[in-house]
């Protein structure tokens, strides 16, 4: 044996810390436990998250609460059609120096932060949206030939509204692919609503009584990087991503019928990282198939380009992914049709 997986004493402090964050999130935003778990998994995977939901469902509140909890530098940009790239990335301003000369001085934009909330990102022009491409992928900004690194960690948590699409600019596929997760934020149920209006005046969430420092967060990242990904699981991830392409051997009928373009290799990387984070949140040192299944939909749903036939038949990417996960055997064991392995 060449290596040993994370032992309980190594894993447990990170898990406890992560669970504290989750508990705080659950306390601040009611009835969103699963969403909080996925968001935190995304953060621990050092990925960017796109939140989609109707106005007032708590997208912005979630990101703000996360920013408070993680004790990271947090900035918010409200994307509008007249927003310019310089408004995000920063700009050079002619300034007088001490010696009386004038020089162009760089004033960093809001992107120079740890946690950037890009609110209603689809309302900005493509030009402005594209300004985020390098920042999200390279975690650096290049202006006038000078590349400036962004703070570490750097996360973009964007939100967009699926309605009122007039005057909006849908995110291009290239930018969508840079988001680790696309999470749908749905409305709250009766119980949750009752708890909100009965416990909170004007809906204001309680202040967080717990903060995670940058060092603590870094320790969690370190532990998470050691979560073991078994070969069968990595194989399963590869097969799932490959099967999203219509030409793949294991592609199911729905994929062949409805998917124009499948997920990219970046999706496979994202799945592996997200599955690691999810396993750690579950207190396990190894990734299991169930972790992959849990994070598959948030990772893949915005990466599948469905065709007009899917829209005509009312089939969305979530349905296709669900079918794919249901039909694709995790272990890849191929047995004759009349032989089955029962639980």
């Amino acid at each position: 044996m060449t290596e040993t997986i994370l032992q309980p004493e190594e894993l447990n402090p990170a898990v406890e810390l992560a669970n504290k964050i989750l508990n705080q999130l659950d306390r601040i935003l009611l009835g969103r436990s699963e969403l909080h778990r996925l968001v935190l998994a995304g953060i621990l995977s050092r990925g960017h998250i796109l939140l989609e939901g109707l106005p007032g469902v708590g997208k912005t509140a979630l990101v703000k609460a996360l920013g408070d909890l993680l004790h990271l530098q947090f900035k918010r940009v409200q994307f509008t059609p007249d927003l310019m790239p310089g408004d995000i990335l920063g700009t050079h301003i002619l300034q007088g120096t001490d010696d009386g000369r004038r020089a162009m001085e760089f004033h960093p934009g809001p992107v120079f932060t740890n946690l950037l909330l890009a609110d209603e990102i689809n309302r900005a022009s493509p030009k402005t949206q594209s300004a985020l491409l390098e920042a999200m992928q390279e975690r650096a900004v290049t202006l006038l030939g000078t590349t400036r690194a962004l703070p570490n960690p750097f996360f973009v948590l964007a939100s967009q509204n699926p309605i009122e699409l007039e005057g909006t600019y849908p995110l291009p596929e290239a930018q969508l692919d840079r988001f680790l997760f696309k999470l749908n934020v749905t409305g709250a149920d009766v119980e949750t609503l009752d708890r909100i209006i009965s416990t909170r005046r004007r809906g204001e969430p309680p202040a967080s009584d717990f903060v995670v420092t940058a060092d603590e967060l870094q320790r969690i990242f370190t532990v998470m990087d050691r979560v073991f990904l078994p070969k069968p699981v990595s194989r399963y991830i590869s097969r799932v991503v490959a099967a999203t392409h219509a030409a793949a051997d294991e592609a199911i009928d729905e994929v062949r019928s409805y998917v124009s373009y499948g997920a990219s290799p970046r999706a496979a990387i994202a799945m592996a990282e997200a599955a690691r984070a999810y396993a750690m949140l579950a207190g396990r040192p190894t990734v299991g198939f169930e972790d992959v299944k849990t994070i598959a939909a948030p990772v893949l749903n915005h990466r599948l380009v469905v065709n007009y036939k899917a829209r005509f038949d009312g089939v969305d990417s979530h349905a296709i992914i669900s079918k794919l996960l249901a039909q694709l055997d995790e272990t890849g064991i191929k047995l004759p049709r009349d032989v089955q392995i029962e639980a």
Partner: protein, 475 residues
């Protein structure tokens, strides 16, 4: 939670599940392969039994194929068996190990070993109804192929030729020949053996051969019967003279002088001696005294009576024998007429001998007395002699001479239309002109009358020609 102390039990579980799966796959493939082999085996067995009447024992060697099928199934099952990592992943997934069991195969899991749940092996389910049904059907098929009697399976003996009626008829004819002592016992047995062989081996595959052999046998039997008839007729003719002389001498011995009488007795003795040499039955029917008298030539009236009776019995026996042959269909009943000729009245023979004593010997006279009354015709025998036709008249010059018509005439005949038929050959004038009727005083335009074209407007005239009374038409 029931905890496992080490990874050994996990390895054991993995091996156990893999073994179960291998066994199940081997069983499944074995049934399929054995089913296919059994069908092939059964078909081969049926073909061999039908075509070559192969016995069962050699066909049982086909059971070796079952072992080969099982080995092949085991090999294929081994190839289909998932890898150990896959089995490990399966057990991990089914036992909610969260990847720990999988990690155990690649890395040390340390304290996590104690937190792993007990590994329960998943159940394997095989929907075997179809495979078992196919297997049962194939085994039944091969069993039936081996058990079914050869007579149902053989193809070469499936169509025997039914010649029983012909064989029966021939057997009856051979029996009749044997009873009539026409053929020897050994020859009759040889014929019967051949006949039995034909009846048993007559094949529908080559009926011509069987029929040919039967025809050959029938010809042999028929020939024997014909020979018997000819021999009987010849013998009867020979004995007819002796019988006539014996009866004639009994009836009118007193009319003959001593010399003629002595000559007649000597002639009769000589005839009987010759007949006794050829006909043992005749010799047996004569008394020893008569036989002695025949040898010495000293016959008296008693001897004559004995001779007459013996000849009469011999004739009767021969007649009965031939009648049997005729009843068996071997000889034409009409051919018996010579042998069964009506008994002649020989009372006038003595008078005939007396009248011709000076002209011919007794033997010649008897011969003339017994022969046919004549060849027929006013100058060829007596009035009761049958007419005898000798050479038939020749057909030479009695037929129309065949002649090849020139092509133009043939073409003209093809276009012609028959409107009548004369009772005889129409008269044609040498000049080619018609002599009567509408054609009177007309001359052919050229060439012969046969080639002259008759126009449609002349059709009525020609028709009227053929409708004229015969006296005008015939010359």
């Amino acid at each position: 939670m029931n905890l496992q102390p080490d990874s050994a039990s996990h390895e054991l579980s993995i091996r156990r599940f893999a073994r179960r799966l291998a066994l199940l796959l081997t069983l499944k493939h074995s049934l399929a392969f054995i089913a296919v082999w059994c069908f092939v085996w059964g078909i081969v067995a049926l073909v061999l039994r039908a075509a070559a009447a192969t016995p069962r024992k050699p066909l049982l060697w086909g059971a070796i194929g079952v072992a080969v099928a099982v080995i092949a199934a085991a090999v294929i099952s081994r190839r289909q068996l998932p890898s150990r990592n896959s089995v490990r992943a399966l057990l991990d997934e089914r036992n909610d190990c969260g990847g720990l069991l999988m990690a155990e195969g690649d890395a040390g899991i340390g304290e996590w070993q104690m937190r792993m749940p007990e590994i329960a092996l998943p159940r394997l389910r095989w929907r075997s109804a179809r495979s078992l049904g196919l297997f049962a059907a194939s085994v039944a098929f091969v069993a039936i192929s081996l058990i079914v009697p050869v007579r149902f399976a053989t193809m070469n003996a499936a169509r025997p030729l039914d010649v029983s009626r012909e064989v029966e008829n021939l057997a009856a004819q051979i029996e009749a020949l044997k009873e009539a002592q026409v053929i020897e016992e050994a020859k009759a047995e040889a014929l019967e053996q051949k006949l039995d062989q034909l009846g048993a081996e007559g094949s529908g595959e080559d009926p011509a051969k069987t029929w040919e052999a039967l025809d050959h046998l029938a010809d042999a039997v028929e020939k024997a019967a014909k020979d018997a008839v000819e021999k009987a007729v010849a013998e009867q003719e020979r004995l007819a003279g002796a019988e006539a002389l014996a009866e004639g001498l009994m009836a009118g011995a007193d009319q003959l002088d001593a010399k003629t009488m002595t000559e007649a007795m000597q002639t009769l003795s000589a005839m009987m001696q010759g007949a006794m040499k050829e006909n043992e039955m005749l010799a047996g029917s004569l008394s020893p005294e008569t036989q002695e008298a025949i040898k010495s030539g000293a016959l008296n009236s008693e001897h004559l009576k004995d001779i007459s009776k013996a000849l009469s019995r011999n004739r009767s026996a021969t007649g009965q024998k031939l009648s049997k042959l005729a009843q068996s269909g071997m000889i034409n009943p009409s051919s018996l007429k010579g042998a069964q000729a009506n008994r002649r009245d020989n009372s006038g023979l003595a008078q005939f001998l007396k009248e011709n004593a000076q002209k011919m010997s007794v033997e010649e006279a008897v011969g003339q007395w017994c022969e046919n009354p004549g060849k027929g015709g006013v100058d060829r025998g007596r009035g009761d002699a049958a007419m005898t036709w000798t050479d038939g008249s020749s057909e030479k010059d009695a037929k129309f001479k065949e002649k090849v018509l020139p092509p133009s005439v043939v073409a003209g005949l093809n276009d012609s239309q028959m409107i009548g038929l004369s009772a005889s050959v129409p008269a044609v004038d040498k000049n080619g002109t018609a002599a009567h009727g509408a054609l009177n005083n007309t001359a052919a335009g050229g060439g012969s009358a046969y080639t002259q074209t008759i126009l449609p407007r002349h059709k009525g005239a020609v028709k009227r020609y053929f409708e004229r009374p015969n006296q005008y038409r015939e010359r």
